[in-house]
Amino acid sequence: MHITIYSILPLTTSIVSISLGLLVLLNNIKAEINRVFFLSSLAVFLWLFCYSICYSTDNEKLANILLWIGCSAVLFISVTYYHFTSVLCYKKKEKKFALSLYYVVLLYLPFSFFTKYFHTGLYKYYFGYYSRVGPFYIYVIIIFMSIISRSLLQLFSTIKLKLLPANQLKQIKYIFLAYFISFFASIDFLPKYHVNIYPFGAVFFLFWSIIISYAILKHQLLDVNIVIRKGLIYSLLIATLTIAYLTLIITIEKLFQNFLGYQSFIISLVYATIIAVFFIPIKNKIQHIIDKAFYKGSTEEIAQENLFLRKEIADKERLKAIATLASGLAHEIKNPLTAVKTFTEYLPSKKNDPQFLDKFARIVNNEVGRIDNLVNQLLDFAKPAPLNLKDTVVEYLIEDTIAFLNNDFIKHNISIVKQYNPNEQHLLKIDQNQFKQALLNLFLNAIEAMSDDGGELIIGIAVKTTASDILCISIQDTGPGIAHEDIKHIFDPFFSKKDTGTGLGLAITQGIIQEHGGKISVETQIGVGTKFKVELPLYSRS
């Protein structure tokens, strides 16, 4: 077997495709969308790889089997496309249908292998062996085309009806473009019906890979990390250069054979010269240009860009939280407004009714207080004051906060269990007032949870040593626990199960902890209690 020029295009495209697929898969092996994309790229790889060998081999038996495998892979491409777009557009029903299509294709395989209805053998063209198909193969093509059209339609309607957030729509536009272009690879069906043209459909899959890669690079498609993205662009670059290089080599080899006869020494020399003169410098040059275009250069800058991206995501989350907050506030503020409005409406006609006046004084005062409270908390949330960081012994701060709430603990029959040594001193660099506010909210939350039957408030402090020392503060109540469906909302502003609260306490606490570079998490068990865990970088301990 000797690689011919006709094999280069499918071979390169197959390698580009599987590399892209592997990259996407390894970047997030747990994400369904990434796994399905890998399946697509695997099918593309199988198809093109098998065919590329058929263009270079003289072994008819081998070609026959490879053509069958390649041909089957083509059907899988359509099904994985459909599967991919269904997952991408969150279409659950269509995804189920896509999954059942896998079984249909699997059932088809033995038929196409053992009967002559679909595959009857092969043609020998100037470019190599190619499938020859039977009378029923046309139905396979029709099904193939319908499935792909359906996927494209799915993407199209999602874009047209704006069914997803703007950033996702942008990604879907690229996917649509890539998948639409790859559809032109259907040109490769023609030689199966004895049309004597070179099946150059792989070109469209090269475009497919390039567009998907571009979307990954510029629009975080499939959530591929930026450092890995840099790797992606280099491998694409090297793949492209390799095609050019191989084409050049083979052309030169042909020229030498025609004019000089086969002289291996000269050929090797020419290869070496080509590599030295063109390949490596060109590769470096292009790499440099790409670095400039995408990253301005150094690794520090990449890290910087990573940081920037993360901040951008955090900002978006924050904006989303503020939007929720604003709509929650609008809703919440209408309640006190209702009361004030109704009571003032009745004031003229009831100004001599002492009972009414009593109620008026109480209710209106309460409700105005409620508005005041809402606005204050909104301000707290929207504009966190700059942190005033001071070395603080966390044990003292906790003692302070407990003392502050002592009456409430007694009133609700709550006993404090300290699972730490009060004589130890762990030092944190924190804003004392804000941090105290965060603790206070957590304690109030625990008191609220146990306000009916009393219970225990268990406070723990522990040091976790990983890359650096992390201080874990745990605050656990023995209340009723939080329902499963609520747990993911408890840090959302205005999410409250209480009659008295505004639902901002935990949102504010989370904000403060995050400002300090820490994180807060929650575990809960119905009937047992709830445990909040605050983790912060430890400054020092004694």
């Binding site: 309640n335 009361a339 409700e367």
Partner: protein, 119 residues
Amino acid sequence: MSKKVLIIDDVEGVRESLKLILSDYYNLIITEDAGQGLNCVENDQDIGLVLLDIKMPGYNGLEVLQKIKNVSPELPVIIVTGYKSVETATEAVRLGASGYIVKPFKAEEILDVVKKKMK
């Protein structure tokens, strides 16, 4: 003896407002807890109309509406809400709400809708 109006709202000021507006004309059952409200619907045959808050801690008013309609399909339910959103309004009507009032409301509006829709 005329039928009673059931008021379900988690905020005292709103409950007191509705009480102020309606108590001269109707018998009222007032509760801050949606579960308790549902109990009343199940056990009290004299309830002729429900004024239901849509946002309460632990409850989605639309779910409560659905439950009321399961228990007593003929009972008119008026949704009382903080803001007018087309989706919520459509959904409420689909689930069988008889009316939709936005806070802060006028006394007249409440009296009007109760008078018209009372079973």
